[in-house]
């Protein structure tokens, strides 16, 4: 199969992305022809890198976001090498100075991805569950309502609703609420349309949701909102730092949308497709889910112990004990083990189809750990202690030790789970028919999971540092 049509589509998509950036009053000023040339070249390179793989628009967008992140890192590294200043702060300053490039490149990924996925579509038989527009819109819209509700809690606290209402030249919070939920439903529905084919289970859907949330932070508060309010988008690290709460809000929104969408989608598939004896797993999906829960819980014991060392070092165990009104380290340890047990069990249930190798397991584990850093210490922990969300760069700075702990926990959890699962699967896969049936459900090679891992882990770890 010739790659020429795809490369052509990549060049056109890249050029369109460049034109979009040139048209936006975003501060990414420069010679239009130079931007266009760069866009065309980067678009063609993107198409070459994708090769002959089959792509849907959602998958192409995630590959595009990962690609944008890599280009941004390369720009930062090149600028730091070429610049006069050296050292840690110099690199950080360069990253901050080029923050606008990250936003711009991520936005330019949209036309690039759409053109490559449509004009540059590779022919071939399509298998797997049938794509359903009705399911995508209904499940996505439903998930969007709940995600919007959770995000709305922070927006209400931060007084954001009157600002949103400004889109329709109003300052009424009620109008803002209506607009907020409308946007939340629309984004949820687009999530369904873009990612229905990517959802393998609850775990990866959390990932797509979180990455989609970050993407919509670039699109929404940093770009569309100022444009709709009649002001100029400000893609500076300082301004973005002020909107850090909105970033976490978007991630939480994305997580809820991803999770709920996957739940509705899974129920649909269980009821109408996987319950079919012709498609059913040999062990039965109930057995698979429950044994995965058990393996996840067992894996959490090792991961939780590792994490507790970091928590003991940083004095976080006494804070954890406060969740049950105590102050001792021993109680904190027990509470921590309990939480770790639940999180480990849910990892098992959510990610059992995702990782086929140890390296993939590390990636999904790190992503899961990072998700729980946003959900746990930055969101649920303050609420459970009777306070409210502290979605600020200062709060994120204070939780940095916990970020490292969560990454280590996630990796240890995923690796231990993988070890337990591998032992079970080695026995199951002796039968070639069962192996084939299992592999049909497992994430195959060629999916955009690597781009998702890079984009979300990269932005999730770097943005709090760059914006703080």
């Amino acid at each position: 199969m010739s790659l020429r049509p795809r490369i052509g589509a990549g060049a056109i998509g890249g050029a369109l992305g460049a034109l979009l950036l040139a048209a936006l009053p975003s501060g990414l000023a420069g010679n239009v022809f130079v931007i266009l040339a760069w866009g065309t070249a980067l678009g063609a390179l993107f198409a070459i890198a994708l090769g002959n793989r089959r792509l849907e628009p959602g998958a192409a967008l995630v590959w595009g976001l990962g690609y944008a992140f890599v280009v941004w890192l390369s720009v930062c590294a090149a600028s730091a090498l070429g610049g006069p200043a050296h050292g840690s702060n110099a690199m950080l300053d360069v990253a901050r100075a080029h923050f606008a490039s990250l936003v711009g490149l991520s936005l330019a990924a949209v036309p690039l991805a759409l053109v490559v996925a449509t004009v540059g579509r590779m022919p071939g038989p399509r298998s797997g569950p049938r794509f359903s527009i009705a399911r995508a819109l209904c499940a996505g819209g439903f998930a969007g309502i709940f995600g919007g509700w959770a995000f709305g809690k922070w927006m209400e606290q931060a007084g954001f609703f009157p600002l949103i209402a400004g889109i329709v030249r109003s300052d009424s919070p009620q109008v803002g609420v209506v607009l907020h939920f409308t946007i939340a439903i629309v984004i949820g529905a687009t999530f369904g349309l873009l990612f229905q084919r990517e959802v393998r289970g609850l775990g990866s859907s959390l990932g797509w949701g979180a990455a989609y949330g970050v993407f919509w932070w670039f699109v929404g508060p940093l770009t569309m909102l100022p444009l709709l309010l009649g002001t100029r988008p400000e893609w500076t690290a300082e301004h973005a730092g002020m909107l850090f709460g909105s970033l976490i809000g978007h991630i939480i929104y994305g997580l809820i949308v991803g999770l709920l969408y996957a739940i509705v989608d899974s129920i649909w598939l269980w009821l109408f497709e996987r319950s079919d004896p012709l498609n059913r797993q040999a062990e039965g999906s109930g057995t698979v889910a429950l044994s995965s829960l058990w393996r996840g819980a067992a894996a959490s014991l090792i991961a939780g112990l590792l994490f507790s060392i970091i928590m003991a070092e940083t004095g976080a165990l006494t804070r954890v004990a406060q969740l049950v009104g105590a102050h001792s380290i021993a109680v904190g340890f027990l509470v921590h083990v309990g939480i770790s047990f639940v999180i480990g069990a849910t990892y098992g249930a959510c990610f059992h189809y995702e990782a086929a190798t140890e390296l993939e397991a590390i990636g999904w584990g790190a992503l899961y750990g990072l998700i729980w850093w946003f959900l746990g210490p930055l969101t649920l922990f303050p609420v459970l202690l009777g306070g409210s969300f502290t979605w600020t760069t200062a709060a994120a700075d204070a939780q940095v030790p916990s970020l490292i702990g969560h990454l280590i926990y996630g990796i240890a959890l995923a690796l231990t789970f993988r070890t337990l699962e591998r032992r079970h699967l080695a026995n199951l896969f002796i039968d070639e028919r069962l192996r084939r049936r299992w592999m049909r459900l497992r994430r195959p090679a060629g999916s955009p999971a690597p781009a998702l891992l890079l984009f979300f882990i990269g932005t999730g770890v770097m943005l709090p540092l760059v914006l703080g």
Binding site: R53, L73, G410, L454, V461, L465
Partner: protein, 516 residues
């Protein structure tokens, strides 16, 4: 969707490696490096920002290494010689006869031990396609568990073992060949050859040569037996409901269980609960007309348990309406009468036989040494002396108890442990290693005697003392222990649902097979 794998996965590898470089940076730069330098870890925002240049470097390095991984892998694959698969004739054939606890567990353990070793072929011949969990058989007869819920299909439990459905009819130890009837007698026997043969044929009911009893009595060894007993009881209730003669009604509602061991007592308890529980559905039958009678040859029931527990079981079951005929044996039986020795006659249409077991009759046809019970005499490794490659375990084997003398009893608990040791020994022999002796000390015994009551005798950990439990606590122990032992997670869930449903709904009296 199923993706078409790209021709080259360098982009996938590059992005994956770049993503993995981030947590690797956190671990190496912020945890390991300070530990190596013996300095305090920099787990602060400032510390992380100081390590930011390294983060960029790690990600770009990961990207580069990932992109080149494919090339490296391809070169390595070219350099690595391809190992040919073992030729068919070099493969060792392990043949297991019997799909009960002993045979099925041996196969499962062998699968575990041999893992992906394709040089060994495992074949299991069984006359049933499922493993029956016999400890719960009485509950099937008592209609509190669905019959299929206590059986696990052999084919779904065993992944690499070839399961052959058939009844073994001849074992030729000289030519190392087994003949079996694959289910269609007209087609004649089929044959299987072996290198290692495992006899796990189990046992059958022993009627001690009394053909009349054998003809009249209901057996209680298999799932069809339990289903037949349940249906038989329901059928007799239906007949009794329309019977005007009180003597005939009494005869129809008298159920005699021969044998006061575990099987007989559990069955009598379950039958008593079931029969008395469904009386309300038959308005013309009175509780006084119903009799469940246990006939036992010794002076006390449950000889496997201590005297106090046996006395408790007798008292508790008597309170619930079960009658006992101790120091008596079933001497003869007709369709309407059970004759006891010393002389007593019980008018009954039901006799269930649990008074004795013997090894599978096929064992008697083998040219091997047997004990007085008829079981194959094996050494402590479970191999048959004088016959290389012949092994036996379970109810059909007499395995010497090296610690206490005598042989191990033919129970499921022992069969499971014997199977684990035998699987280890088979692998050892195949690899020219030393097999090991079987040593096991029973953990204890549990016996249900009726609704939410049981007797339990459990060995205390690290001591030789036995702890005794009775009543509700023992019954909870029984359920917890046997539910955990029931093979297959799915079966556990199904049985648990049955037990919960039984708490809230009446027992099912639907007759599924016509017997009378």
């Amino acid at each position: 969707m199923d993706y078409q794998a790209p021709r080259s996965a360098w982009l996938d590898n590059a992005f994956t490696a770049a993503a993995l470089a981030i947590p690797l940076w956190a671990i190496l730069e912020l945890v390991v490096a300070p530990a190596v330098r013996d300095s305090a870890p920099a787990w602060t925002a400032a510390g992380l920002r100081a390590a930011f240049p390294a983060l960029i470097l790690w990600v770009l390095l990961g990207l580069t290494l990932g992109a080149s991984a494919n090339t490296v892998r391809r070169i390595a694959a070219r350099l690595r010689p391809v190992r040919p698969a073992a030729p068919e004739r070099d493969r060792k054939r392990v043949l297991i006869l019997g799909g009960g606890f002993a045979g099925m567990t041996t196969a499962a353990k062998l699968e575990e031990l041999l893992a992906a070793d394709r040089t060994v072929e495992i074949t299991l011949v069984s006359d049933s396609n499922a493993l029956l969990f016999t400890p719960m058989l009485a509950e099937v007869a008592g209609s509190s568990i669905e019959p299929t819920h206590i059986s696990s299909p052999l084919r779904s439990s065993l992944r690499r073992t070839r399961v052959v459905r058939g009844r073994v009819c001849e074992v030729d130890l000289e030519s190392r060949r087994v003949a079996f009837q694959p289910g269609v007698p007209a087609e004649g026997p089929s044959y299987l050859e072996y290198d290692e043969l495992i006899l796990a044929l189990g046992g059958v009911s022993n009627f001690f040569g009394q053909e009349n009893i054998k003809r009249v009595a209901l057996d209680f060894k298999s799932l069809p037996d339990a289903i037949r007993i349940r249906n038989h009881v329901i059928a007799l209730f239906e007949r009794a409901e329309g019977e005007p003669d009180p003597d005939v009604r009494r005869r129809l509602l008298t159920f005699v269980v021969a044998g006061g061991g575990f099987a007989g007592i559990e069955l009598a308890g379950a039958l008593n609960d079931f029969a008395r529980g469904i009386l309300d559905e038959y308005p013309h039958l009175a509780a006084e007309e119903l009799r469940v009678v246990v006939v036992h040859a010794r002076e006390r029931i449950l000889p496997e348990l201590s005297e106090s527990l046996a006395a408790y079981a007798l008292e508790r079951m008597s309170e619930r309406g079960v009658q006992f005929k101790l120091n008596r044996q079933v001497a003869n039986a007709t369709a309407d009468t059970v004759l006891l020795h010393p002389s007593e006659e019980i008018e009954a249409n039901t006799l269930v036989w649990t008074a004795g077991t013997a090894p599978n009759p096929l064992i008697a046809s083998l040219d091997v040494a047997r004990d007085k019970r008829g079981a194959v005499i094996v050494n402590a490794c479970m191999s048959v002396p004088g016959h290389t490659g012949l092994w036996a375990l379970g109810d059909c084997a007499a395995i010497p108890n090296l610690a206490e003398g005598g042989t191990y009893p033919p129970t499921a608990q022992h069969a499971l442990r014997e199977a684990a040791t035998l699987a280890f020994n088979i692998r050892a022999v195949l690899r020219n290693e030393m097999p090991r002796d079987f040593r096991f000390e029973a953990r204890g015994s549990l016996c249900v005697i009726g609704h939410q009551a049981a007797c339990a005798e459990v060995r205390a950990p690290l001591t030789r003392r036995k702890l005794r439990f009775s009543g509700l606590l023992a019954w909870l122990m029984w359920r917890a222990v046997y539910l955990s032992k029931l093979p297959g997670f799915e079966r556990k869930v199904r049985v648990l649902v049955d037990w919960v449903a039984e708490l809230y709904f009446p027992r099912d009296t639907v007759q599924t097979i016509e017997l009378i």
